[in-house]
Symmetry: C2
Subunit: 447 residues, 2 copies
């Protein structure tokens, strides 16, 4: 049976998660008075995750890439935003449980809770290797990077100073490549003249990737181009290198030649993700299958088998309909398009229509690597879609500005980028939060 | 004897504190190669404190009013910036002790460590009534204000909802007036259409001042004007009202009519300040006198009696040379001018010259109260200096933009203000930090 409703009462839709998937689902329902929508999120804002690494590296302020959900959705009078954490599902009674107990009833449910880091069973690494999924993650990473340079400036033992001046980025996907590239820029340009005892361009930035090339989903030529651009920024790219241990003073890696120790005080984690814990609870409650990363397997219409009223979309799901018959990739478009699709399915059902299965349209990928350069992989542009250098950078800039939510954010980010471009600076280099002074081993007065 | 040095080695100046006093002292020494300057601060940035209330109320982002000290002072090659906390003074050996033990030697010392909140002996109030002195204070206040509206939206018991919707600002000085005015704007304009169960303009904003009028240092007509403007924004102004108790659920006040209880979940503290703890340590180590707020008494040249090599300036000191023979007021100019003066005294000494005593030049005061209005008190402009409404607002805007450090910040803040002005919005309304969900008493599902 269809997840129908009596025509008199509005159809109650609960959307869990205000990321790309949830937000675009809400926007696509767009004030349609046949629906009564509740959007639940733990945060009061929508976060533009593709630019999170720019907050982590001091180029943008948190509020420039995050916009209050209530503000974005203010005009949708049939939509309620609820600040809350979904912690359980009662599919028999069609209720979502919140952390403070109040259940919300739904007729249809869209689960769009995204992903968090996965340390592949090494949960002890989490305290040392910072992942990048939230605003708080980003300000922590910013703090760690800036404090490392401050500590190095005050450290007089050469060996310990080198530890502070070494940054290891684990994972050579888009996030890892963009983080490593930004670190290269920080060391070579932004901080170049800021210190007296250390020379920031001496910093060692090491990108570690277990596969044999960076940006594995891109064609091989793009990977080679990305690697060359990273190396030009002084980044040491170590492919076919597996991380086997991380502690406060360094990283242990394994290559074909054996084990090796990289002493480093700052390790950033861009390697693995797993579905949010709510996705697992949805799977447990409905008997749906998950993969090793906890992602829920959904049918061709992105709903759970036996539960046509429950959609799971974006990074929380393994979505069929991706390129070459595979799953949809874990990028922004891999949540935006399913969000729109789910909303259209709901509308079609009310009208007694049926939509075809979800089909992902590959708009292409683009990653930026430092100043004026990057790589793209945009299939529908033909040979023009496989660019590098300046053209990739310009495309990246245009796409990100267009998708950024909020007109004032677009202007602010453009001003920031223009200014950074002219001055080689990064305007948001604040160390916030306690404690404010780095805890270094052997404090000594400056020379 | 003068605090002299052999002409061969540079004169070592240590500046403690990178606020207005310390920064303008460093900028006035300006690369003069006869000096070797070390600036110590607990933070890696200079904070433009007059706009801190705009961060607390979501109008500006932290990085728009804070600029990394290393960036500002990069070109001064004889200057070293040190991230550290000064915790003690050894005046006999002319050394400043840092929290991690490493002492720094000086020939001359400028103490510009500012002030922190004072709860007048009621230190228990600190956990409930948030003060506003640092970036972390401001993001905490922003978080508390936004969470109060979120909690009210979910609260179904009318009485508890009213507690969440009541905001008490303690202290009717410029900070209290500006905070209360901004809260009025948030409730009436910014959040007006954002909620479904509550009506934000119903929020009660109460400004409590023990004296008989707000803005006590201004002429009486200006106080009346400020009060009228606040009331137009819906702020309840309660003068001649003393706070005698604060807890998690409200404020106890005392008036001529007796005691009264104001139930409220959000209390902001803008009432009292005391000198930083380092100022007290300087006084203890040198035998200098302090007042009840811990401010150090300095001579006409802003140095300590018997210690011509130690300057104490800004909010850490009671500085003679203010208006009408009184002390210098605790405003930005009351630190900027002394900072410049101290640097000029040091230069004069090296040249065998003597400067006259410090004289404060009253450039005037200006406070903004919500949209398009404010009050000024600018003596040297004559009758034009006592304006209200739009002219005050325009003056305030011009002055703050000119004094804001960093050209890109000026542009960003102008864009933000222009945008807020057009849309009645506030672009930086993020709730950051843990826990993300408000802890409310009786959680219930939305209607």
């Amino acid at each position: 049976m269809q997840a129908g409703v009596p025509s008199s009462a509005p159809h109650r839709v609960v959307i869990v998660g205000g990321g790309f998937g949830g937000l675009y689902a809400a926007k696509t329902i767009d004030g349609d008075s046949r629906f009564d929508v509740t959007l639940v999120d733990r945060h009061n804002y929508h976060l533009f995750q593709p630019l999170l690494y720019q907050v982590a590296t001091g180029a943008l302020a948190p509020s420039e890439i995050a916009q209050p959900l209530r503000g974005i959705l203010r005009r949708h009078r049939n939509l309620t935003v609820l600040l809350g954490e979904a912690v359980g599902l009662d599919p028999a009674n069609r209720r979502v449980l919140l952390s403070d107990g109040g259940p919300i009833e739904y007729d249809s449910l869209i689960v769009a809770t995204g992903a968090r880091h996965s340390y592949f069973g090494n949960e002890g690494w989490a305290t040392v290797a910072s992942g990048l999924k939230s605003i708080d993650d980003a300000t922590l990473i910013r703090r760690r990077i800036l404090i490392a340079f401050e500590a190095a400036e005050r450290e007089h033992v050469a060996e310990l100073r080198r530890e502070w001046m070494t940054f290891v980025v684990v994972g050579g996907g888009p996030t890892g490549v963009e983080l490593a590239g930004s670190l290269g820029e920080i060391a070579n340009d932004t901080l170049r003249r800021d210190f007296r005892s250390i020379n920031p361009p001496d910093a060692r930035i090491i990108l570690v990737e277990a596969m044999e090339r960076v940006l594995p989903p891109y064609p091989e030529g793009r990977s080679t181009s990305a690697r060359r651009q990273l190396e030009r920024l002084g980044v040491v790219v170590r492919t076919s290198t597996r991380v086997v241990g991380i502690d406060e003073h360094g990283v242990d890696v394994e290559t074909a030649d054996g084990r090796e120790r990289i002493p480093a005080r700052t390790v950033l984690w861009a390697a693995g993700v797993q579905a949010s814990s709510f996705a697992r609870k949805v799977a447990d409650a409905t008997g749906a299958e998950t993969d090793r990363a906890g992602r829920v397997k959904v049918g061709p219409d992105l709903t759970l088998p036996g539960h046509p009223e429950i959609f799971v979309i974006g990074d929380a799901a393994i979505q069929p309909g991706g390129p070459h018959g595979g799953p949809v990739p874990g990028v922004a478009q891999g949540a935006i398009q399913p969000g729109r699709y789910a909303a259209r399915v709901l509308k079609a059902r009310l009208e007694g229509r049926r939509l075809g299965p979800f089909r992902y349209r590959n708009l292409g990928d683009v990653a930026v690597i430092g100043r004026l350069s990057g790589v793209t992989n945009i299939p529908w542009l033909g040979p023009f879609g496989r660019t590098g250098g300046f053209l990739a950078w310009a495309l990246w800039l245009g796409i990100h500005i267009v998708y950024l939510i909020g007109f004032s954010n677009r202007i602010l980010v453009l001003v920031r980028w223009a200014w950074s471009f002219i001055t080689f600076g990064r305007g948001s280099r604040l160390i916030t939060g306690q404690p404010l002074v780095p805890d270094i081993e052997e404090p000594e007065p400056p020379a």
